[in-house]
């Protein structure tokens, strides 16, 4: 842990748990649970629009692929604080970690919802069944391991709450190893989520199919991680009426824009080298979606071009949202829009599918609100 910077210790926010906002969120969660009950009683076909051509719907592409990317805040900040030794960002670690924890745990749960024979899920970890040469195996093991690692990383908050000082002391001695794992594992599986598509070959549109997909997925996951931290800071500052930590967010946005610029350089160079440029100018949905995606990736660079803009909370927020949407679209485009498995196959999520994803988001926000009020996560206000 950082010793050179003196930060106020984290403390529970306290306050009302039952508010109109939490009630609405809880209602959305209940709707999702109802739909999931139907799914587990009558099967995937009863509630989803997925078919033999599109076996992955939004429960995989949104809940798992995008959900885990949106949960990269903890990863990005941990990388910054512990690997690049930027202790000044330390107050951001716990809030970011909490969001990541929720994002990843629900992504893991989302996989179970989407598995037709979910009762066989353990096969992928079992030596006799595991196919160690598969990308899916890497993703499954790595994400599972990361979820466990994150709970351990986050456990000091529980230990503090329940006054288990000895346990916390013992844990802090090995925590450096856990944290190192916590930065290694997402690097592995966030890139592997891109490798999943490389395996799809020609079924992915040339605008997205490239051997660099793992790198593109990793770079965008990191950039989104920073964007999420900014996004969450803005939300919780207005939600919990707390001051924004602008000096940190401004610096974070610097890192974010550089990462984004690097990503765009790699992305464009890859498109040019592969000769995919003509595909951008064809009058079809893929090209249209590509331009929207690229516009959203470029937008944060334009918005935050001038250093003053990085001190403006509104601009920071809009830039962060643009980047999140861009990362969202990159994944939607490469997994669903740019995916063509043969004539006749169509997919658009059903209302039930969308409501389950909405319920997952609601659960994340609800859990975040409850835990922030209950556990020492946010830095104490000076």
């Amino acid at each position: 842990m950082s010793t050179t910077h003196n930060h106020p210790a984290p403390a529970p926010l306290g306050g009302q748990l039952v508010t109109p906002a939490t009630l609405i969120l809880a209602a959305l969660v209940v709707i999702a649970l109802g739909i999931l009950a139907v799914r587990f009683l009558f099967g995937l076909g009863a509630v989803t629009n997925i078919n033999d051509g599109y076996t992955w719907g939004i429960w995989v592409v949104y809940d798992v692929v995008i959900g885990s990317a949106f949960a990269c805040g903890g990863y990005s900040v941990a990388l910054l604080v512990y690997i690049f030794n930027k202790g000044e960002y330390h107050p951001m670690v716990r809030p970011a970690l909490l969001a990541s924890l929720f994002g990843y745990t629900l992504a893991g749960a989302g996989v179970i919802f989407d598995l037709g024979r979910y009762w066989n899920f353990w096969h992928i970890f079992w030596p006799g069944y595991a196919q160690v040469n598969s990308v899916m195996f890497e993703v499954a093991v790595c994400i599972t391991a990361y979820i466990i690692v994150m709970w351990i990383e986050f456990s000091p908050a529980f230990l503090e709450k329940f006054g288990l000082k000895d346990a916390k002391k013992k844990l802090s001695r090995v925590l450096f190893f856990i944290i190192a794992l916590g930065t290694l594992l997402p690097s592995m599986h966030q890139s592997s989520l891109g490798s999943l598509l490389v395996v799809f070959g020609y079924q992915i549109h040339p605008l997205w199919q490239t051997v660099l997909l793992p790198l593109l997925y990793l770079m965008t996951a990191l950039a989104i991680g920073f964007a999420i931290v900014i996004f969450e800071a803005c939300l919780s500052s207005s939600g919990f009426k707390r001051p924004l930590e602008m000096h940190l967010l401004g610096k974070l946005s610097n890192v974010m824009t550089w990462m984004l610029a690097a990503y765009l350089a790699v992305r464009v160079a890859d498109l040019v080298v592969r000769g995919a440029v003509p595909s951008m100018f064809q009058p079809n949905v893929e090209a249209l979606m590509f331009w929207i995606e690229m516009a959203l990736f470029v937008a944060p660079l334009v918005i935050l071009a001038r250093p003053e803009a990085r001190r403006n909370p509104a601009k920071l927020f809009v830039a962060a949202v643009c980047l999140m949407l861009a990362g969202f679209l990159l994944r939607i485009n490469s997994f669903l829009v740019g995916y063509e498995t043969g004539p006749g196959w169509h997919y658009f999520p059903s209302v039930s599918e969308i409501m389950v994803s909405i319920g997952m988001i609601a659960l994340e926000i609800l859990g975040y609100i409850v835990l922030v009020r209950y556990l020492p996560i946010m830095p104490k206000e000076a």
């Binding site: 930590e245 003053e308 909370p313 809009v318 409501m355």
Partner: protein, 385 residues
Amino acid sequence: MDENILENDESLVALEKRLGISRRSFMQLCTAMAATMGLAKGADAAMVAAVATKKRPSVIWLHFQECTGCTESLLRAEHPTLEKLILDVISLDYHETLFAAAGHQAEAARRSAMKANKGKYLLVVEGAIPTKDNGIYCKVGGQTAIEMLKECAADAAAVVAIGSCASWGGMPSTPPNPTGAKSAGEVLGKVIPNIPGCPPNPYNFLSTVVHFLTFGKLPEVDHIGRPKFAYSRLIHENCERRAHFDAGRFAMEFGDEGHRKGYCLYKLGCKGPETYANCPSILFGDVGNASWPVGTGHPCIGCTEKGVGFAKPIHELAVLKTVVPPVGFPRVVEEQGKGASIGAAALTAAIAGVAAGAGAKMAQNLGKGVKTDEGAGKHEERAES
């Protein structure tokens, strides 16, 4: 098989003349028979040598309560040389259908053949034997079927039952069985090798005879006397429609879509799942692909199996001896998905709208002057935005 040794073999040259077939088709036949019986490498060569050189065994062929379908199927086989081979590989000394002789002349020929080949001839029984009222319902030359069978079996080297009637009673024995029809084995009081079927596949019979000719004994049989090479597997196991059974694709009535598409006939009453025979492997009638009952779209009636063929109604479901079909099956036609439903599109638009609205509102609030830890810088930025 060592072709070089057999190439200029005198007996083979003679055989070519005798049977009027090419050496190649003869060898192919012997190899096919060896393969049908699953015999070891070299057995085909032994068969070639046996058929070409050995003295043809005397065969006495008895007909009782039957339709002569077994004989017909042997004679009508499309294989170009088969009927010649039947008549030439064996010395058919008594066969009521194929005899030129008639009346007492024929019976005399049988008795003289039995005397000349005592203990060496092969007895083939076709048809069930009526036992009610001392067997008076079937008589040949004044002799009842029971007497004739027992007389001929006494000095035979081996007795083989051909067809379901002789094997287990067949059609004549179905209830109420007015003549008290019984199989040859039941009448003789022992298990005898039998080739059930209505009619049986001629190759199963021929292979059994050639095995006897070559090795001096009949092929290995199961506990009820059926050669294992032909009757050790359920029809269901090798059926070409088996994949449809496993996938749950069934013809539900004759002429429906599933029937026209060649789906499994189990639900039309196919007895393949409880009938032991090699029909799907070697087919029937030598007319090529799918030339066996199930292949032509009719459910198997279980003709080789006692208690199934002629006993169970054709439409009755078979007893599944091996695999029971699963409770849930995949769809026959997989849905390919439709585009967005109005509800889903509206919901997506609503979410996008709410998110955009909330984002804009949020940005507006942040722009207006949220508390920051560096409040001083706030003012200039507002002017700028």
